[in-house]
Symmetry: C2
Subunit: 140 residues, 2 copies
Amino acid sequence: MDEAVTALTTEECWEMLEQEEFGRIAFRLVDEVHITPINYAVDGRSLLFRSAEGEKLLAIVMGSEVAFEVDHYNDDFARSVVVRGAARLLPEDEAHRAENVPLRPWVAEEKYNVVELQPRVVSGRAFHLSRPWLHLRPHD
Amino acid sequence: MDEAVTALTTEECWEMLEQEEFGRIAFRLVDEVHITPINYAVDGRSLLFRSAEGEKLLAIVMGSEVAFEVDHYNDDFARSVVVRGAARLLPEDEAHRAENVPLRPWVAEEKYNVVELQPRVVSGRAFHLSRPWLHLRPHD
């Protein structure tokens, strides 16, 4: 059953990261693990986020490593890419990088901070789904 | 612009948790934060997962608190629910609980461990999306 889960190549991971625009970021705050949805854009070989002042920014300023995930699935397969690495708040003279990529806030809030995730580990998996019951459930 | 993001009620959070079957779990392994996609089911007011022997199980056995997220979005809005709490490996005489809920592995792998997440915090947000550029991008 080993074929049920296969590893994506690094190139496939970046292709998927470039296709998506919405993921989830996980980070530590002291002893707690937090996770929150976020939109993002790929800039070269790093990821850019806009961050509001709040928990996410606090964790980044504290210098912790973060984990970021995107996924996509349909009836037959699922794909997930995970990026782990250090996040840093871009200083003012670098924040313009966010203007050159499709990093637009989904929500009409003012978010001034640009955060860069520099990947240390990029990994992805493809799952061949086996969900015979899918057709047994009424869709609502 | 405050209406762009609204909090879900606890009841709305549980409704969404019951509708979905796929989320992402974040956990600590020593100093590292990890995130991985996982399928799950609601059993009463807790969440059940099947876990393979591996990183996820290791973190749970180590007693760390985990964070779990589900989300759903379309062109106009997004919703996300986050559950944080302690995860524990169910002992053999409780593992049958997984048989009474729609907790079926998507992938045809043998996964014998059943893990329960007992929520300490359940929170959710609805985002009214503002993506005027959506119609400007060609869909592939």
